[in-house]
Symmetry: C2
Subunit: 148 residues, 2 copies
DNA sequence: GTGGATGCAAATAATTTGCAGCGCG
DNA sequence: CGCGCTGCAAATTATTTGCATCCAC
């Protein structure tokens, strides 16, 4: 049910006292349907496909609002434009395939646990974290499988 | 021997065929002496203190060069300006104290090992990674120590 | 109705680049 | 002594903002 993500965004909006306007509804829907990590320009493009009147400024303003409400995460995988994804589900981190530029999500509770431990050791409590691992695909070398 | 960092930067410059100019020498020295994670504007300020002729454009160009040579790391701890540190020593990650904005380095080989394992599980080899943990200081609660 | 939200265009912020002259190798 | 590097200013890129109008509550 990918549709739920958009509804969650809308619910959060209403709850915060912000107005549920047409542009925000559209942007929430675009975010909810996104399987990738679009930047503002791409969000604008997709939003305009649904409602041509939506301005770039509104996309920027809306993303800032959503980020403050804690319903999206802003990423800076590379220099240049910021990229977004709707948070809400289970936390995950990212691989960036440096060859293809592709961003892949992954879960690693073991790493998170270790992070909390290390932070505690330094006298800190974790509020949030960002882990980005830059990788390349491992070639399957012939004979790498356990031979008989 | 903090001075060694600057020498390492200079050595890498010569080795790459790039020219060892006065501005680059100054910027290498500023980086080598930095205990923090200065942004370009701050690097420019410090460089100008040693040689008033150095331009902001040169600092930008030099940092790009150093980054390509792999002798400095660019960070984006928060939106806005990029911040730098000279790499070269042992790899480390960062805590960002969200209250004070302070950036603290830490080592956690255990986490790195786990990352490599998770990456391998997904068919990847790690080229690099960035882990930033946003934290707040833990108040020492009375009686939090193991009681008798 | 009315204050928050929008669109547009102009403003800022961060970084890059064209060009003529200078100096490292 | 040539080509890479520099400073300066103008150009680009990413994001924000002022303002008149509009519409969700």
């Amino acid at each position: 049910m990918t549709e739920t993500a958009a509804s969650r965004l809308e619910a959060k909006l209403k709850g915060s006292g912000a107005r549920l306007t047409a542009p925000r509804r559209v942007i929430a829907r675009v975010l909810g349907e996104a399987e990738d990590h679009p930047d503002v320009e791409e969000l604008h493009r997709r939003a305009q496909a649904l409602d041509p009147g939506i301005s770039l400024a509104t996309v920027y303003r809306t993303m800032r609002l959503f980020e403050q409400l804690g319903v999206v995460e802003r990423h800076a995988f590379s220099a240049g434009r910021a990229r977004y994804e709707h948070g809400g589900e289970e936390h995950h981190d990212h691989f960036v395939d440096v060859k293809s530029g592709e961003v892949i999500e992954f879960h690693a509770p073991e790493i998170e646990a270790l992070q909390a431990e290390v932070a505690a050791r330094h006298g800190y409590r974790i509020l949030d974290h960002r882990l980005v691992i830059y990788v390349e695909r491992v070639e399957r070398v012939e004979g790498s499988d356990k031979p008989a």
